[in-house]
Symmetry: C2
Subunit: 380 residues, 2 copies
């Protein structure tokens, strides 16, 4: 990397981000202040369902490809620093609170692998072996304080916590296992404060929840009505749990198969309301201040985005930013949201107060959008 | 700025910060990943009671000096980009949600001045003229969504909101005034979600609060017992309101003059508890996840720091990191806290789980510590 390509006055990485071009195997690097594209990082393999986490400096990003590749990239040089083929089929990852470890959750072979965040050298290989010779697919991986990771075993109906110990200790993970959490946990989330880990169940209604701040954490079943219910509806796309919005004391959840967003009380985890929306919700995401919740939808309603005002619990706006809305990402202080429309090959930047479109960027089949401010958040 | 001083692989600004050296008129630039000092930014004038806000890129910082100077500095080049002498006596400032405007709150002449964040060109001069020819000192300035700023007029007993309009509009601020808010508001805070603006009153007990999300915001008086009370105690240092901790639905407030931290319920703003602490609290700050609240104290107890567990509301640790603890700043994900000890000329980095000291840095009479992650937060 030569000096010439650096700007004369170096600027920070706080307003940078990436947009996944799933068909190209590329990331577009963007700047949210100028609302411009800065360049591409290419050669990242199969980026369908790809996800990205950030190192503490905010310019280092880790890209988890569906093909099991893990790439460490630099948003400033737009280059791949290190790339390892770590499994045959992966579905995302997480970075430890101190930024020293990166973990990938794998379908094939089922388990997690933990890497040194600087070099991507393997630190720990933890197969999800729940019975002799039987490995489970792993989903819902999230970081916990103190170099720990929590995740769910789809095939086992278990939730595990791997503790990698202190930086100087031998890299032998201590595993805590929660068994019989419910059938087929398919995704999970950590609340923004890191207190509650909640797994969605594919095999039955309701959710499995662990209060990680309890003296002796254990699994509870919450929101028994959450799921497909007695008369299952066709589900065009399972909602993403990680998108769940916690706004004030309430959580906003995508109903499964129904055209509804559910409102739950995070103090007792009971349902307190339902809001009718334009389709089957996929992502339900709070603006950083929690005053609005934005929702996108599965086919055939995936050209729309709706905005819920959390004070009145009413839809205050319906937008049509383009065909096949796959993802939404708020700027750190919430003045704008970036929305990817895969089939119109564009990313729209929309002001969250006036709902005006501030910019439209041409991106090839954009899917996930990940801003560097994620470096500051836990459970991502 | 030559190329040679840049590292060969550029890194981001997400893990940078500054420590104010008040006697030197300098900032020390630090890195929270390596826990190292990177260099100095000198020539910043009188930095007693100085404060710092960050531009959206996280490498640009704005330094408000007590002498009325406003400096724009770059943490990567460690140089002053622009510096203006904007008033005779200033007490801090704020940056707009979109990062385009920087506002300074002034004692002399009383009012606020708003500057273009790139050039520091004056955009609006808004004297706090509350009666013909009478200017009030301004305190408690905070940014609100949409290029607005809220602040309190100490001499007038008023709270004003200045709306600078949209970026393209003429720079004529629209002012909304709240009168008779209480006697001598001396500092204020905005809750982390930007909903409640709360001003402390020097001239009477209780606090003035505005619910900014209300259809028609108005001033309410809350926590009538908050203040020096019927039998005023000697107050060695007025607590900083901006340090107030909101953890879950509860706010932790420094009592005035008493060796107590008050616990308030943010849903109805009533007092729900008091916690005995080692001295008169100055800063009461929540770890980012809200599970701990850290407290420092006025003389003669200012060699101590205490940690409150918010689940049990008990003191779980008392630390003595050095003489004259002036400030504490958490890393973005809360694994560590940086504490300045002015009279021992050091900054200590302490792990928030084990309470072990991870590093000690030599800094000349350190006071405020400001990390670049503040760029992502409102009300700072």
């Amino acid at each position: 990397m030569g000096c010439a390509s650096l700007p004369s006055a170096p600027t920070g990485s706080g307003d940078l981000g990436v947009v996944v071009e799933r068909a190209q195997g590329s990331l577009k690097v963007i700047n949210t202040t100028n609302r411009q594209m800065l360049g591409s990082i290419d050669g990242l393999g199969d980026l369908s369902h790809a996800s990205v986490v950030y190192g503490r400096d905010g310019a280092t990003a880790y890209v988890f490809g569906r093909d099991g590749a893990l790439s460490k990239v630099n948003l400033l040089t737009r280059q791949i620093d290190v790339r390892v083929q770590q499994s045959g089929n992966s579905i995302g990852g997480a970075i430890s609170q101190d930024g020293s470890l990166v973990a990938a959750q794998n379908y094939q072979p089922g388990g997690i692998k933990v890497f040194d965040a600087k070099t991507l050298a393997l630190v720990a290989d933890i197969p999800a072996e729940y019975a002799p010779g039987k490995l489970s697919r792993v989903v819902g991986l999230a970081d916990l304080p103190g170099r720990r990771f929590v995740y769910s075993l789809f095939d086992a109906g278990e939730i595990w916590i791997a503790d990698l110990g202190s930086p100087g200790s031998p890299n032998i993970a201590k595993i805590t296992k929660f068994k019989d959490v419910g059938r087929q946990p398919y995704d999970a989330l950590l609340t923004p404060n890191g207190r509650h880990y909640i797994a969605g169940l594919f095999g039955e209604d309701g959710l499995a929840m662990i209060d990680l701040w309890a003296a002796e954490p254990k699994v509870a079943r919450i929101l028994g009505g959450y799921g497909r219910g007695q008369q299952p509806l066709p589900v065009f796309k399972m909602p993403h749990l990680r998108g769940w919005a916690v706004a004030g004391r309430h959580a906003y959840l995508p109903a499964i198969g129904r055209h509804e967003v559910l409102v739950g009380d995070t103090e007792n985890w009971t349902e307190v309301g339902r809001i009718k929306v334009a389709g089957q919700p996929v992502f339900v995401i709070a603006r950083p201040d929690g005053r609005q919740v934005w929702v996108n939808f599965a086919v055939p309603d995936y050209n729309r985005v709706q905005v819920i005002d959390t004070q009145s619990r009413q839809i205050v706006k319906t937008l049509e930013p383009g065909r096949a809305v796959l993802h939404m990402e708020f700027t750190p202080r919430g003045e704008a949201v970036w929305i990817s429309s895969r089939d119109d090959h564009r990313v729209s930047v929309i002001a969250t107060d006036s709902f005006e479109t501030q910019a439209v960027l041409s991106v090839d089949a954009p899917s996930g959008i990940f801003f560097s401010s994620r470096a500051n958040r836990m459970g991502f």
